[in-house]
């Protein structure tokens, strides 16, 4: 059972304050060390030799010229792998190096390590591979047809190429549609989205202490530890993973670093030297995970007054050649398919399908943005059919405390959605805004403005699909001078976790934030804390930090009472005061020295696990997540009718993520998520042909620049406190992306008068909408 902790009694001092980020100074000085910034004596440069076929048998692999290159130190083929040839993620279908058959362009076949980066590239080109091409399939629907080439490793699939088929069956959807006065239906398509973290993937494996240490840019050190141990045949205790500064993740560094680290480890072990493996940008885009392309079909019914009666959903995600995280991504899509609404009759069928393409994986939102595009489009289509204001329709159906979600989960607390919709309406002056936009459109010949809204819910944490991973450990040490070292098992990748966790520690200890230092994440410091994903860090890791802080604080307070000879002390100004006579006090440094001199235990470990969840795979019903976060976004866009170019001009975002620990970093998360959503909706497109990513570069794949952002942002938080989170906090990280793109899509549809049904809304696609609307 998860333990529930009450927030500390004293007034909050650090939590809720816009404290500057702990890592900001090193970063602005250029002193933060990212993966490629580290070097070790004798270090080699690793490189993967990759398949250039989407599906083929390897007839012959000749690496003699590679090995003969004067600067090549070693080559590795599957027979050199000391342990198992597998990258264990959820399933065990993906080999470290292709085992006789390649299933996607870019799949690693062999490895080499060379004295220089340039030599590694040169040598990789000398590999001779003879293939026998096999029939390949790239489209998920085609892959499900009888007679389609078999891509999925059968043990990892439910049948044929269907990795997973998941359902929700709530109520009787036909009855729900029979009760409806209005039914809308639509099909929506989305392509890849590339993470485009600015720091490419990179790891360095160092053989040492009879084991392996891997340094790298990564989100999930314990995943990496597990993969390296499997591939090396080592006990976990001989594998240590240390996170370097990490230049963005967004899910892209969830599972991929396991593969890279395992490759580097095998090379380093064979060479007996450190091996650095950093991907050039084109290799990174072409061969690592992305957001799943999807085909999504919806039917939604409502009564004349707007009350939703039924929703029916069928969606297909193109998983790529191996399972990696697809079953979890599909599950989140499934649970989120009905949106943040009260709907009595729900039927959802989700499929993840294997094709001969690069495996897709985690990306902020994790399978939900694809269905959110659809459900939020459906809400606007319904509003139009009903002649209702889209915000009124959303507010009317929004989940409230006491309601049941689509999986039949009764919401007992912390549902800030109706309030968020109300605040977004007020902040944007929604009614006046409509008039303003109408006046603009009446006046302009070649420009049209449009407004769009979206509302979303987000299940915080791993949920009932992976409850075993929803835990975290923490270690807090009071140093002899009164400074505090905090070690945690979840990572800072830019989102601000380090600062927020330090704030929670400081608040829990009753000490100033400045005294807390967060140690680099290292698997040898704390127990397996699960992955840094699912917007769970503040909530779950935060509770572990608070647990450690409460234990250590009891000792600090005990020491202070002995030192002052009083029965009660209170913290303030970095000191602990005699409660009866506040003029008598001791500083934290004095307490620490006293504890040290009296041989007291000056460290405490903390532990947290998420509250229990449950789910029945047959019906899709259950308590899917321990709590949900919510948001309402409003976007204003301006479309150039002549060029089809779209700009987002103004944006309003209201979030309920419970207590906000740091308003300034939270604001940064929201605006950054909006930027990624704007990119998803408007410009991010990664065409592929025959399983090959055609243009894996930033020249061709455009992410938003400062010029593409709205001229005006309003961000606000409504804080519906969650009793299971530290000081009432829930998760935030993924939610802004999830909400933003759909608001932009609805705004474009409003501006053009035609429903946008595919991302991205490039100028060509928008001109097509305008043409059809005319």
């Amino acid at each position: 059972m998860a333990r529930v902790k009450a927030p500390v009694e004293e007034a909050e001092q650090v939590v809720g304050k816009a404290a500057p980020r702990l890592d900001a100074e090193a970063k602005v000085r250029g002193q933060a060390r990212y993966a490629d910034d580290l070097s070790f004596p004798g270090m080699l440069y690793g490189k993967a030799i990759r398949s250039d076929r989407p599906h083929a048998r390897i007839l012959r692999l000749d690496l003699s010229q590679v090995a003969a290159h004067p600067k090549v130190a070693c080559v590795v083929t599957p027979k050199d792998i000391p342990g198992e040839n597998v990258v264990p993620i959820i399933y065990r279908d993906m080999p470290l190096l292709a085992n006789g058959v390649v299933r996607y362009v870019g799949e690693p076949i062999a490895l080499l390590a060379a004295e220089t980066r340039e030599a590694a590239v040169e040598a990789a080109a000398l590999a001779q591979v003879a293939y026998e091409d096999l029939p390949a399939v790239f489209d998920p629907l085609e892959a499900t047809r009888p007679g389609a080439p078999q891509v999925a490793v059968p043990a990892a699939a439910e049948g044929g190429n269907v990795f997973n088929h998941m359902v929700i069956r709530k109520g009787d959807v036909e009855r729900g549609f029979a009760e409806a006065d209005v039914v809308v239906a639509g099909e929506y398509r989305v392509g890849y989205q590339e993470h485009a973290y600015l720091e490419p993937q990179g790891v360095i494996a160092v053989p040492e202490d009879s084991g392996i240490t891997v340094y790298g840019t990564l989100q999930c050190p314990f995943y990496v530890q597990n993969a390296v141990a499997a591939v090396m045949g080592f006990p976990l205790a001989k594998v240590r993973i240390v996170q370097t500064a990490t230049g963005g993740g967004f899910g892209g560094k969830e599972d991929v670093p396991s593969h890279l680290a395992a490759m580097a480890a095998v090379l380093a072990w064979k060479a007996g030297r450190p091996v650095k493996l950093v991907l050039p940008r084109d290799e990174d885009i072409a061969t690592t995970s992305k957001r799943h392309p999807g085909l999504v079909r919806y039917r939604t019914g409502a009564k004349r007054d707007g009350t939703l009666t039924a929703v029916e959903v069928e969606f297909y995600y193109n998983a790529g050649a191996y399972q990696t995280l697809s079953s979890a991504v599909l599950w989140r899509g499934l649970i989120h398919a009905a949106g943040p609404y009260r709907i009595p009759h729900v039927k959802v069928d989700g499929y993840s399908v294997a094709t001969n393409t690069v495996p897709c994986g985690a990306f902020r939102g994790f399978g939900s943005p694809q269905v959110i595009f659809a459900h939020e489009s459906q809400m606007d289509e319904l509003a139009r059919e009903l002649g209702m204001d889209p915000l009124v329709l959303r507010h009317k159906n929004a989940l409230r405390v006491g309601d049941e979600t689509a999986t039949g989960q009764r919401l007992t607390e912390s549902v800030g959605l109706p309030e968020a919709i109300g605040r977004a309406r007020e902040l944007s002056h929604w009614d006046e805004l409509q008039d303003e936009v109408a006046a603009f459109n009446a006046q302009e010949r070649f420009r049209r403005r449009g407004l769009g809204a979206s509302t979303v819910m987000y299940g915080v944490g791993m949920g009932a699909k992976a409850p075993l991973l929803d835990k975290a450990g923490a270690y807090l040490k009071l140093e002899a001078d009164g400074s505090v070292t905090l070690a945690v098992g979840t990572t800072e990748m830019g989102q601000g976790a380090q600062t927020v966790l330090a704030q929670i520690a400081a608040e829990g200890l009753g000490v100033p934030l400045a005294s807390v230092q967060v140690a680099p994440v290292d698997t040898s410091r704390v127990p397996d804390s699960g992955p840094t994903v699912a917007s769970r860090t503040t909530t779950v890791q935060g509770m572990a930090v608070l647990d450690a802080a409460e234990k250590l604080r009891a000792r600090i307070v005990g020491a202070a009472m002995e030192m002052l000879g009083c029965p009660k002390v209170v913290p303030g100004d970095g000191r602990f005061h005699d409660a009866r006579d506040p003029t008598r006090s001791v500083s934290l440094a004095e307490i620490a020295r006293w504890m040290w001199a009296h041989n007291w235990d000056m460290a405490a470990s903390g532990w947290a696990e998420a509250r229990p969840v449950d789910w029945d795979a047959k019906t899709g019903l259950g308590n899917a997540y321990f709590v949900y976060a919510y948001a309402c976004h409003i976007a204003e866009v301006e479309v150039d009718l002549l060029t089809g170019e779209t700009r987002v001009t103004r944006f309003w975002a209201v979030h309920d993520s419970g207590k906000i620990v740091n308003p300034e970093t939270a604001r940064g998360q929201v605006i950054g998520g909006i930027a990624q959503g704007i990119g998803y909706a408007l410009m991010e497109e990664l065409p592929a042909e025959g399983g090959r990513i055609l243009y894996p570069t930033f020249t061709a794949y455009h992410i938003p620049t400062a010029m593409d952002m709205p001229d005006e942002f309003v961000v606000e938080f409504v804080e519906a406190s969650y009793s299971g989170g530290p000081f009432g906090a829930k998760g935030l990280g993924e939610v802004p992306l999830m909400a933003s793109h759909a608001a932009v899509a609805n705004a474009i549809s409003a501006a053009t008068g035609t429903r946008l049904r595919a991302y991205p809304a490039t100028p060509e696609r928008v001109l097509d909408l305008i043409g059809r609307g005319a």
Binding site: R29, G30, A245, P280, G496, T665, G672, Q676, P704, M709
Partner: protein, 155 residues
């Protein structure tokens, strides 16, 4: 070949092969790892340094091209230990998240403020549009630049 130039205010003389990128000279030969490689093709701006007062992409600049010039990297901006007002402003506005694009953004902003000490919001956005950031959505970055400009020359 041997080249001489000024790096962060100090004279430097180094031997470089003709094709070596300024980025590799800085990072690998001289150990200045604050300048980052994000794409290697001049699209992301993470490797922006200031050469004779102008922003330059170190991944597209041959090392030999800086012969006789004045090169400023992120390390040179706070060399005496004192943060530049721009660096302070990035900290204050939370214009830093993952931080990988930050050195490039700060150097581009530094060049902007030399050219145009009191830019408008739109001028900042336009000038920084060659520097990609995937985390922040730029709002707090732009605020940082405007704040530093305001501090350096108040109206």
């Amino acid at each position: 070949m041997r080249i001489q130039f000024r790096l962060n205010g100090r004279p430097v003389a180094v031997d470089v092969p003709p094709g070596r990128r300024l980025l590799d000279l800085l990072r690998e030969d001289l150990g200045l790892i604050g300048t980052k490689e994000g794409c290697g093709e001049g699209e992301c701006g993470a490797c922006t340094v200031v050469v004779d007062g102008k922003p330059r992409l170190a991944c597209l600049t041959a090392a030999v091209q800086v012969e006789g010039k004045d090169v400023l990297t992120i390390e040179g901006l706070s060399e005496a230990g004192q943060l530049d007002p721009l660096q302070e402003a990035f900290i204050e506005t939370a214009g830093v998240q993952c931080g990988f694009c930050t050195p490039g953004l700060v150097m581009a902003a530094y060049a902007l403020l030399r050219e145009n000490p009191r830019p408008t919001r739109d001028e900042v956005r336009a000038y920084l549009s060659g520097n990609l950031c995937r985390c922040t959505g730029y709002a707090q970055v732009v605020e940082a630049v405007l704040r530093a400009a305001e501090k350096a020359c108040p109206r």
